[in-house]
Amino acid sequence: MSNTHIPSTPRPGPPPSRPAPAAPPMPADGAWSSASDARIGLQIRGLSKRFGGVAALDAVDLRIEAGELIALVGPSGSGKTTLLRAIAGLLPADAGEIRFGDRDATALSLRERNVGFVFQHYALFRHMTVAENVAFGLRSRPRARRPPRSAITSRVEELLRLVQLPEHGARYPDQLSGGQKQRIALARALAIEPSVLLLDEPFGALDAKVRVELRRWLRALHEQTGRTTVFVTHDQEEALELADRVVILRDGRIEQVGTPDDIYREPRSAYVFDFIGRSNRIDGRIEDGAFIADGLRLDASAAAGTAAADPGRAGAPPVAGPSQLFVRPHDLALCADGDGDDAGDRLAATVVAVRRRADRITLELALQRHDARWELDLVDHAQPCPAAGAPVRLRLRRWRAYPRSQ
C-alpha cells in the first residue's frame, strides 16, 4: 500500500510523446492534495441493487483503505459500474451500507457525499470554458463556504497546472482532445477536495496510445495527491498495471480481491484465471493428488512452479473429482526431441499456424489427443521455431486446475 506523502517537487511523468511544460512545485499548504484528514477509506457492507429481476449487485462487501487506488474490473454486466455509481450516490442501493471513513454515507445524496466523479464521457459543461468548468464546484458552494473570487482563480490555475494543461483555461471543451478532456474532468472533480475520487472507465473512450500515457499519468497523479481512488474498467491489463488492489466482479458478486500480483499468480477460480489473461485449458480429473487427462498425468502436489491449486488457499490438497486445467501461453515450453519421451507429463500437439508479434512468436496448436486449440508463446527468439504442420511436444511449466462442475 502506498502511503504517499506530498513530494516537495512532484512531477507526474509527462506522457512520453507529448512534452508538457514542467510541472510547477505543489503549493506548500497542500490544500487539495493529501491533507491527512482528507484521506479516508471506504467500507461497503451487504450492498445490493436489483434492476427489474436481475441482481446487479448481490450483497457486496468491500473494504478500501485510505489512499488506495482500487480497480473494479469485470466484463459488462458484472456490476462494476453499478457498484461505482452506488458509491457515488448516483444510484440508490436496495440494501446494505456504505461508510466513508467513520461516517455512514448510505442515506446521503449525490450532492452531500462530496465525491469526485469522473464520467466515462467526461460530462464537461460544454457552454463553459475549461477554467469555468474547474471552478464550478467551488462557485456553487453556499455563500458561507465559498472561497473568495481570487482564491478560486488561483485554485483553478493550480489544478490546471496539476493536470498539465495550464494554457487551456480559456478554451471550450469541444476544442480539447479526448485525453485533455479527461484531465480537465479530473481537475474539476479534484477542485472540491473530494473524500474519494471515482472514475468510470477513465480510458474507455481514448485511443490506445493516449490510453497508455494517461494511465501512467494517473498513477503518478495518485501518488502525488494520495486520494482514495476507485476506477472501473473492463480491461484487465489496465487494472493490473494501475491499481494497488484489483476487485474482480462477476454477476454482481466479488469473485476475488487482491493485489495485481496475487490476482495474477493465484487466481482463485477458473473465471478469474480466464479473465485476467489469455489461457489454454483441457478437461480432466483430479485423482490421488494428480491431474489426469487422456495421455497426461501431472503431479498436483509437485514442487513450486507446477503447484496445482484448488480454489481457496495455495498448498491445500487438490479436491478429487472432475477438473479443468488452465495454463498460460507463456507457461508452455517446447520439448526437444527425445527429451522425456516416455514421461507422462508431456502433451503432443501439431502446429496449426505461426503468428509473429512485435515482442513474441505465438504458435497456434491443435492437441493430438484432446479436442482443444492452444496457444504457445515463444519468448526466446533464439529457439528454433517449428513450421506449421510440425508435430511438437509440450511441457507445462506452470498450470492450475480448478474443479469442474458436471
Binding site: S109, R126, G137, S140, A189, A191
Partner: protein, 282 residues
C-alpha cells in the same frame, strides 16, 4: 467534389430539378409576397400609412402583440417544464402524453376554437361559474389568448424534448456531484444548454401566434376595435373590398414573419448544435 459523389446525376437532370424547384418557389412564395407588397403600396405610401394608423388597425395590432406577449412566456415556461418531465423521468402514461402534445398540430384550429366554445360558451361546462363571477372568456381577450396558447403549445416542447434527450443527464449529474443545488444546476447547466433550442422554439411559437386565424376566429366574436387580431382585421377589410387596407395590414404581418425568418436563419447558422437535431439544416 460532385464528380466523386456516388449520387452523381447527369448535369441536365441536376439543372432541371433545381429550375423546377426555383420556379415553384417563385410562383408560390416570392410572387404572392411581392403582390401583397405592391398591392399594399398601390395607392401610395400615404394610403398605406393611413390604413395602418386607423384606430381599428392599431387596436388589432395591439391585441396581436398583447396575445404574443402573454403566449410566449407562458409557452416557454410550460414548454421547459413539460420537456424536462418527459426527457428526464419515466412515468406511467408518458407515451400517451407525448402523443397528446402533438394534438394541437393534428387538430384543425377551428375545432380547437370550438372546444373552447364548448367549455366557456353560454351553454358550456363552465357557463354558470363564469356567469356568477361575471367573467368573460369567449368574445374577449382571454378566449383569444387561450386559443392561441393551445395552438402554439407544441412548438417549444417539441423542440426541447429531442434536444434534452440527446444531451442526456450526465452534465446535470456532474453538477450535482460537484455540490450544486437543484436551482443552481437548472440555471447554470440545464438552461444554458437548451437556450438556443428554447429561443428557436419560442420564435416558431411567436410566428404562429401572430398569424393564427382559425381558432382565434371562432372565439373572437370579431368585435372591431376590441377583439380583432391582425389576421382577423385583414379578413374583415378584405371582405369589405377595402383591398388597400387589407394589403397594408397584410404587408405588416408579412414583415413580422420575415423578421422572424431572418432571426431563425441566423439562429440555425450560428447555433446549430444548440438546436434539436430534428430541425438542423445540413
Amino acid at each position: 467534389m460532385h464528380d466523386h459523389s456516388p449520387l452523381r446525376e447527369p448535369p441536365w437532370v441536376r439543372r432541371a430539378l433545381i429550375s423546377v424547384a426555383a420556379l415553384l418557389m417563385l410562383a408560390l412564395v416570392v410572387l404572392p409576397l411581392a403582390m401583397v407588397l405592391s398591392a399594399a403600396f398601390g395607392e401610395g405610401f400615404r394610403a398605406w400609412m393611413d390604413a395602418l394608423t386607423m384606430p381599428d388597425a392599431l387596436s388589432a395590432l395591439r391585441l396581436t402583440l398583447f396575445t404574443v406577449a402573454i403566449v410566449l412566456p407562458v409557452n416557454a415556461v410550460f414548454g421547459v417544464l413539460a420537456a424536462w418531465a418527459i426527457a428526464r423521468f419515466d412515468f406511467f402514461g408518458k407515451r400517451v402524453l407525448i402523443a397528446l402534445i402533438d394534438l394541437p398540430f393534428a387538430v384543425s384550429p377551428v375545432v380547437a376554437g370550438l372546444c373552447l366554445v364548448l367549455l366557456f360558451g353560454s351553454q358550456g361546462w363552465f357557463a354558470e361559474i363564469l356567469r356568477d363571477y361575471d367573467i368573460r372568456i369567449l368574445f374577449a381577450r382571454p378566449g383569444i389568448v387561450l386559443a392561441t396558447l393551445f395552438i402554439t403549445f407544441p412548438f417549444v416542447v417539441r423542440e426541447l424534448i429531442p434536444l434534452m434527450q440527446q444531451q442526456g443527464v450526465e452534465e446535470e449529474l456532474a453538477a450535482r456531484s460537484l455540490g450544486a443545488g437543484a436551482w443552481t444546476m437548472f440555471t447554470r447547466i440545464t438552461l444554458p444548454n437548451i437556450r438556443w433550442g428554447l429561443l428557436y422554439g419560442v420564435l416558431l411559437c411567436g410566428a404562429r401566434a401572430m398569424g393564427e386565424f382559425g381558432a382565434v376566429s371562432v372565439v373572437s366574436g370579431h368585435i372591431r376595435g376590441q377583439t380583432n387580431t391582425l389576421p382577423l382585421h385583414i379578413e374583415i377589410l378584405y371582405n369589405e373590398f377595402d383591398s388597400t387596407g387589407a394589403f397594408a395590414a397584410a404587408s405588416l404581418l408579412s414583415c413580422m414573419a420575415l423578421i422572424t425568418l431572418l432571426v431563425k436563419f441566423w439562429l440555425e447558422s450560428r447555433h446549430a448544435d444548440g438546436i434539436a437535431a430534428s430541425h438542423r439544416r445540413h
